[in-house]
């Protein structure tokens, strides 16, 4: 039984195969429209996440399958005190595959140990969100045509942002990747990412406070939200907040070949005036998220389309 709990559960080769299928789905969606007829996806969302849940459900519906599930712990047996291990054993009798979102770190891993069906981690607290990482990889590969030889800028909250950590760990497996880490001092990447991933693998990186100085050299700019409550004092927030808002003026410094990604939801870190720029790829990224989840469901169910 194959599950997806951590983005690194998949080898570079497996990711390449998965992204190939996702790209084929993008080109020939009708070929895949009936593949999952009669199959059911259970979405077990112990905390609300409308975007991720709808993306999974859209993916299964696009494949001709059906969906069932719950969208908060209140409407599930967890409110009666049922363990994750028991819930998944029961759900295994109802569905063919499941996507689990849980506020506790490691909950989907526990589920995978007891499940009779493949388990996909749809986000476990601040820990992992592998299908977001696959979405990011598919978006980068589709837009740039490759996952190596890239300068990747990551901007905003690099300390608490799990999507950033997973993306760094995943891209670190490709050759000639360089990272430009743009954040206030207080929100820099955690030490373990700097030491155990970047320095341990001799991956070039720089850490800067202002995006203006590095924008011209980037192939990808991955934006994240800087949250006011993460700052230790108001003074720092006021001083730095505008540096992390991408507007048309800043974007004029960037290469014409650069693309802007964002895991969404956006608040104000990307000005809406940027939305119509051909480099703004964050809504397209949401579409790629559906394709990659479709490819993942097929892979985990062992279904192939000629």
């Amino acid at each position: 039984m194959k599950h997806l709990i951590d983005p690194l559960d998949l080898s570079v080769e497996e990711i390449a195969e998965l992204l190939d299928v996702a790209s084929d789905i993008e080109k020939n969606p009708q070929k895949y429209a009936e593949v999952c007829r009669g199959k059911k996806l259970a979405t077990l969302f112990y905390e609300p996440s409308t975007r991720t849940r709808l993306s999974f459900e859209a993916a299964m519906l696009n494949l001709g399958g059906s969906i069932l599930g719950f969208s908060s712990a209140d409407s599930s047996s967890a409110s009666k005190g049922e363990s994750v291990a028991d819930t998944i054993r029961v759900v295994s009798c109802y569905a063919d595959i499941c996507a689990m979102r849980h506020p506790k770190e490691g909950a989907p891993k526990v589920a995978s140990a007891y499940a009779g069906i493949p388990v996909i981690n749809a986000g476990d607290g601040g820990h992992q969100h592998p299908t977001q990482t696959l979405t990011d990889l598919l978006t980068i590969r589709s837009l740039k045509g490759r996952l190596d030889h890239l300068t990747i800028g990551l901007c905003g909250d690099l300390k608490f942002g799990r999507t950033v950590h997973s993306l760094i760990k995943s891209l670190a497996r490709y050759s000639d990747i360089r990272f430009v880490l743009i954040s206030p001092e207080e929100l820099r990447v955690p030490d373990y990412i700097r030491e155990e991933v970047l320095r341990a693998k001799n991956i070039p990186f720089v850490e800067v406070e202002r995006m203006e100085e590095v924008l011209p050299e980037l192939d990808i700019l991955y934006m994240t939200r800087v949250q006011r409550e993460r700052f230790f004092n108001e003074e720092d927030y006021v001083r730095l907040k505008d540096s992390y808002i991408l507007d048309r003026q800043k974007l004029s410094l960037a290469s014409k070949e650069m693309f802007i990604l964002h895991p969404l939801p956006r608040v104000n870190e990307i000005s809406t005036e940027v939305d119509n720029d051909p480099r703004a790829a964050y809504f397209k990224q949401a579409q790629y998220g559906v394709y990659v989840r479709m490819a993942l469901i097929l892979k985990l169910l062992g279904l192939e389309v000629d």
Binding site: S83, P103, K104, E105, G106, H127
Partner: protein, 141 residues
């Protein structure tokens, strides 16, 4: 110098860092044994200055993974008929099960009752262990 009788048959856990013997006594559940167990604290040692030693008057199965996790420099001597028959060297185990608990309040192990607490060796050089569920590093005292 304190005199503790030498064993005819049993196990000697030697080269324990001074002060760690009671911790090992608890981890190995030696309180459950009916045989004689001697704990020698702060014994003089050429190599370590001071060390602790535990002598167990019976040949029991020692959980070497637990000992290796606590301190891979410990040596375990198996004694039979008054002589040393085996000297076991320890190493950091690849994983430890239900020896330590994850202290991360956001970890699923903090709420899920029936699961085992499993830590994997993440960095052999630095002896870093991480919870397999949340990947939080185990902080040694």
């Amino acid at each position: 110098m304190l005199n503790v009788d030498s064993l005819n048959k049993g196990v000697v856990i030697d080269h324990i860092h001074a002060g760690k013997a009671m911790e090992i006594y608890r981890y190995l559940n030696l309180d459950r044994l009916d045989c004689s167990v001697a704990i020698i604290k702060n014994a003089r040692s050429h190599k370590m200055g001071r060390k602790d030693i535990i002598k167990i008057d019976e040949n029991i199965d020692i959980n070497l993974d637990v000992l290796g996790f606590i301190d891979p420099d410990i040596t375990v001597n198996i004694i039979n008929e008054g002589g040393l028959i085996e000297k076991r060297k320890l190493k950091l185990p690849e994983q430890v099960i239900n020896v330590i608990k994850c202290k991360n309040p956001r970890c699923i192990t903090s709420v899920e009752q029936e699961i085992q607490h499993i830590f994997k060796l993440a960095d052999a050089e630095k002896g870093v262990y991480r919870c397999i569920y949340c990947e939080q590093e185990h902080q040694r005292k």
